[in-house]
C-alpha cells in the first residue's frame, strides 16, 4: 500500500502545485472554482482514456510518441501559465475595483478561468496518464489487493490535496495587494521548470541539440529523484544535470513570465 500511496502522492503533487498557484493567481475571477473542477474532470476523463489505449498509442508512434505527448503537454501548461499571468496583470485591477458590480465583473473576468481550467486539465492528463498505467499494473497484476491499492490511492491523493491547500493558504496569507506578485513570481519559476523539462525531453529524443551537457552535476549532492529534489523540481524547476539548452529555455521562460507579470501598464482608460 505504502508504495502506491507514495507514487500517487508524487504525481498528485505536481498537479496540485499548478492548480493551487493558478487558483491563487486568479483570485477574484468569478466561477474559478467551478471551472477548476470542470478542468480537473476533463483531465481525469482524458487521462483514463489515454491510459486505456497507452500501449497501442506508444506502438503506433514507434515508442517516441510519449516523448512528443509529454513535451507538448509540458509546453502547453507553461504557455497557459504565462497567458494567465499576462491576463491577470492587465485585467486584475479591473476585477478588483469592480468587485461589487457583479455584471461588469463577469464581463471583465471570463478569460482566465478557461485558461486556468485548461492548464489544470492538461497537467492531470500528463501525470494522471502515468498514474493510471501504474495503478492498473499494481491492481491487475495482483501484486497487491484491490483494497490496498484503493487505500494507497486515497492516502496519496489526500496528502497531495493537503499540500495544495497549505500552499494556497500560504500564498493567500500574503498581504492582499502582494498576493498576485508572490504568485506571479512563483508561477514564473514553475513555468520555466515546465518548459525546460519539455525541451530536455526533446533533446533526449534527439530532436534538439542539447549543447553543453550537463552544465553542472549536483545529482550526488541533491538527487532530482529524491523527495526534496522532486519537490524543488516541481515548484522551481530544479535540475541536477541540466543541459545548456535547458538552462537557456529556463532563463528565457523565467524572464518572459516575470516580464508579463510585472510589466508596467499604460494608465487605465477613464471609465464612465
Amino acid at each position: 500500500m505504502s508504495q502506491v500511496a507514495v507514487m500517487v502522492f508524487r504525481e498528485a503533487l505536481e498537479i496540485v502545485v499548478v492548480a493551487a498557484l493558478l487558483l491563487a493567481a486568479t483570485r477574484g475571477v468569478p466561477g474559478r472554482w467551478l471551472w477548476a473542477a470542470l478542468g480537473a474532470g476533463a483531465g481525469i476523463l482524458g487521462a483514463s482514456i489515454i491510459a486505456f489505449f497507452a500501449e497501442q498509442l506508444a506502438d503506433a508512434m514507434a515508442g517516441s510518441g510519449q516523448d512528443i505527448f509529454q513535451a507538448f503537454i509540458l509546453l502547453a501548461t507553461a504557455g497557459l501559465v504565462a497567458w494567465t499571468i499576462a491576463w491577470m496583470r492587465s485585467h486584475g485591477r479591473e476585477i478588483a475595483t469592480q468587485a461589487r458590480d457583479t455584471g461588469r465583473r463577469i464581463a471583465a473576468g471570463t478569460a482566465p478561468r478557461y485558461l486556468m481550467a485548461t492548464a489544470i486539465g492538461v497537467s492531470i492528463l500528463r501525470d494522471g496518464t502515468e498514474l493510471a498505467v501504474f495503478l492498473v499494473g499494481a491492481g491487475v497484476a495482483g501484486q497487491q489487493s484491490m483494497a490496498s491499492v484503493i487505500a494507497g490511492f486515497a492516502i496519496g491523493i489526500a496528502g497531495g490535496v493537503a499540500v495544495g491547500i497549505l500552499l494556497y493558504r500560504g500564498v493567500m496569507a500574503a498581504s492582499l495587494g502582494r498576493v498576485f506578485n508572490a504568485v506571479a513570481a512563483l508561477l514564473a519559476f514553475l513555468g520555466a521548470g515546465l518548459a525546460s523539462q519539455a525541451i530536455g525531453i526533446l533533446c533526449g529524443a534527439g530532436w534538439l541539440p542539447s549543447g553543453l551537457d550537463p552544465v553542472w552535476d549536483t545529482e550526488d549532492f541533491l538527487s532530482q529523484g529524491s523527495d526534496l529534489g522532486r519537490f524543488l523540481h516541481t515548484l522551481l524547476g530544479y535540475m541536477s544535470q541540466p543541459s545548456a539548452t535547458q538552462l537557456l529555455t529556463y532563463g528565457a521562460t523565467l524572464a518572459l513570465v516575470l516580464w508579463l507579470g510585472f510589466r508596467r501598464l499604460p494608465p487605465p482608460a477613464i471609465s464612465r
Binding site: 502515468e130 498505467v133 541539440p209 549543447g211 544535470q241
Partner: protein
C-alpha cells in the same frame, strides 16, 4: 548594471554555452567516432535492472534497448540522459543516446518501483568497443 542588461548578458553567455557545447558534444565526437551506436540491452525483471551497472565507451552514440519482462508497466527514467518513458509489460523500448564524455556516471531508475529498480551507465575509456 541594470537587471535587464545583466539578464541579457547571462542569456548571451548561455547561448554561447549551447553553441560551444553542441560543437564539443555533437560535432567533434561525431567526427572521430564511428557511426554505429554502441548497443546495450537491459531487461527489467522483478522490478530490477539486469544488468544494473552498464559500462560504455565515451564519444560514441549508445542504443539502449530496454525490455520490460515484468507483468506490470515500468517507467524508465534518467535525469542525466533526459529519458522518461513508460514501457508496457512485455514490451521493448529503444533509446538512442548521444555520445557521452569519459568518466561520468548517469543514473537511471524505474519510476514505478524506485526502491529496487536502480541502475547506472558508467562511461569508461577502457570499455572494449563491440
Amino acid at each position: 548594471m541594470s537587471v535587464l542588461k545583466r539578464l541579457r548578458l547571462i542569456m548571451g553567455l548561455l547561448l554561447l554555452a549551447v553553441g560551444f557545447g553542441a560543437l564539443v558534444n555533437d560535432v567533434i565526437p561525431a567526427a572521430r567516432a564511428d557511426d554505429t551506436p554502441f548497443e546495450v540491452r537491459i531487461t527489467i525483471r522483478d522490478h530490477k535492472f539486469e544488468p544494473a551497472m552498464i559500462e560504455v565507451p565515451p564519444n560514441r552514440a549508445l542504443k539502449l534497448i530496454v525490455t520490460n519482462a515484468d507483468s506490470t508497466a515500468e517507467e524508465f527514467e534518467s535525469v542525466g540522459l533526459k529519458i522518461e518513458r513508460v514501457i508496457p509489460p512485455g514490451k521493448t523500448a529503444e533509446f538512442v543516446v548521444k555520445p557521452l564524455r569519459a568518466n561520468r556516471n548517469y543514473k537511471f531508475f524505474g519510476e514505478f518501483h524506485p526502491d529496487t529498480a536502480q541502475g547506472q551507465v558508467v562511461v569508461k575509456n577502457d570499455v572494449v568497443a563491440k
